[in-house]
Amino acid sequence: MAIKNKKIKIARIEKDMTQEELANIVGVTRQTIGLIEAGKYNPSLKLCIAICKALNKTLDDLFWEE
């Protein structure tokens, strides 16, 4: 079962950003951001870093599971 990545969704909403806007910043489609948030796609490290930079967060903040 896919584990949802709520941290990205929360960070995105905190920055008042839509999936489409975040997708445009990191250079992917809206669907890819949706799938990452839904836990149905594992992004590459390169894309993870791009998302972190766009949301002013660290990799630990968004992708580390306790």
Binding site: I25, V28, T29, T32
Partner: protein, 145 residues
């Protein structure tokens, strides 16, 4: 920020293309074998397909070796096992094909000839793999120094 192409879509498209290639490749082999053994055509009639299939096969093998992927991701024991298994399967297929397409295959002379051919086929297959693995291993470690 510099735009990167959507990696998910690129990966998905590569997977589709890869599957399509595999289907085409298997199809080409099937056409080749059908023409050679069922229709019993002359090599000149299917030479283009033969060159294409051999070319693609060589490209795949050499690319794997040159990129350091040829069995290098396996453990030593698995590597040997894989080499022998693949060579045995190939030789078994060659043996069956020779049996099917030789007139009176079970006469003493023909059977002996088929067995000798199969043994040579197996030996050559095994011998070719050693330098390929050695060279591939060398190349896979090239950038680690």
């Amino acid at each position: 920020m510099k735009k990167n192409q959507d990696e998910r879509i690129i990966a998905g498209k590569r997977k589709i293309n890869s599957t399509a290639f595999q289907i085409i490749f298997i199809g080409l082999w099937a056409i080749l074998w059908y023409r050679q053994f069922v229709l019993e055509q002359d090599v000149s009639e299917y030479g283009d397909i033969l060159i294409l299939v051999i070319g693609i096969s060589l490209y795949i093998s050499l690319s794997n070796v040159m990129n350091g992927f040829f069995l290098t991701y396996r453990k030593k024991r698995e590597k040997k096992w894989s080499m022998v298994t693949v060579a045995l399967i190939g030789s078994a297929v060659a043996f069956v094909i020779q049996l099917l397409f030789t007139e009176d295959p079970f006469t003493k002379g023909n059977l002996l000839s088929i067995l000798v051919n199969t043994t040579i086929f197996f030996a050559v297959w095994m011998i070719i793999q050693f330098p390929m693995i050695r060279y591939s291993e060398k190349l896979s470690n090239k950038d680690l120094d």
